[in-house]
Symmetry: C2
Subunit: 198 residues, 2 copies
Amino acid sequence: MTKAEDRRGQQRERLIETAEATIAASGHDALKARELAAAVGVSLGGLYNLVGDLDELMLLVSARTLRRLDAALSAAATNDDPAERLVAIALAYCRFARDNQALWRALFDHRFVEDKPLPDWHARTQLGLFLHLAEPLRRIAPHKSDEQRQVLARTWFSAVHGVVLLGIAEMLVAVPYDALEAQIAEMVRMLCAGAERT
Amino acid sequence: MTKAEDRRGQQRERLIETAEATIAASGHDALKARELAAAVGVSLGGLYNLVGDLDELMLLVSARTLRRLDAALSAAATNDDPAERLVAIALAYCRFARDNQALWRALFDHRFVEDKPLPDWHARTQLGLFLHLAEPLRRIAPHKSDEQRQVLARTWFSAVHGVVLLGIAEMLVAVPYDALEAQIAEMVRMLCAGAERT
DNA sequence: GCATAATTTTGAACGGCGTTCATAATACCA
DNA sequence: TGGTATTATGAACGCCGTTCAAAATTATGC
């Protein structure tokens, strides 16, 4: 019993790792059931004993990516000046996106299936990302309520996300990466300057 | 000759309209070749005489959507105050996204095929969207060069896009739409306030 | 008007996909 | 060791976009 379960656990782990490597190398729609099964050493049908679905597998990979992203943002949040700390977090986000393009994209490419929404841990981890902004925002906008700052954190995070999204897409053709970082830093500083005025 | 060509043109038009309606109703991956062929009254293979590809068809639909979006932004850019004009444009973008969710999403869901990049008119129309920001930005940041302002326009546009992207996604579950508009307006005003400081 | 050539339309067929499930293989227990 | 429960297997299913030989239609020359 335990023997078999152990093996299954290891296979499952190998499967997730293989999926992660595949996505990192070739994008999230290069995930093919037959290919994965062969790589992991399981029969085609056997995949569905390790994982319910290819979608579920992608979610498992996303969980890893979110954890790594969270760690990267944590590591960046060292500056004492609140505005510069926000800048550092934003730039860390940008670098993570650059260095993990396909996996980062996979985070948002989940097809919306009507009957099976994202599991709550996924939403919770995403919300956890906003937490990195809470402390600097408390100092930048001390007159706002906690709830207002929470909304602000989400909005600013989304704004940076949008700039990174377009920037990474265009990086391949037009704009050099350093310029993208400069734009992000400038925007975050503008937001901070604008927020302090209110 | 002209008779046959006319008919083909009309069929092509009907095909694009049907595709647009299908996407609007059920999302961009509800586009099925067999379904479209039946709806337009063409055989399955006949589709590929009207259009090279389903991807090309999606691009044709995107062209229409981009034209409508551009018109919506134009109609919104009436306020004399530059900051408030930018706010109005951003809100118009948000409303367009809300009212044309599936078609708006389809604008950015193009799978990157290595050998066939987006046609240049697509990129050009996208750049055209940024033009709406040029005039107000000239007044908000008069000390910057034209090129710097162009970059600024792209960055701010992307930022609003990011906020709308997450906002529309969460609208369905958490945040009421009006709050989203309020956040966008606040952010744009902050950016303007921050920019004037530089 | 007719025969012939050029063009266009057609849908069966192809290859690929995710997923399922009857069957075979294996592991477990007495 | 024999019998049962559990797990692994891969052929088969349904659906997909796309192709292409053949059929139908249209155009051309006489």
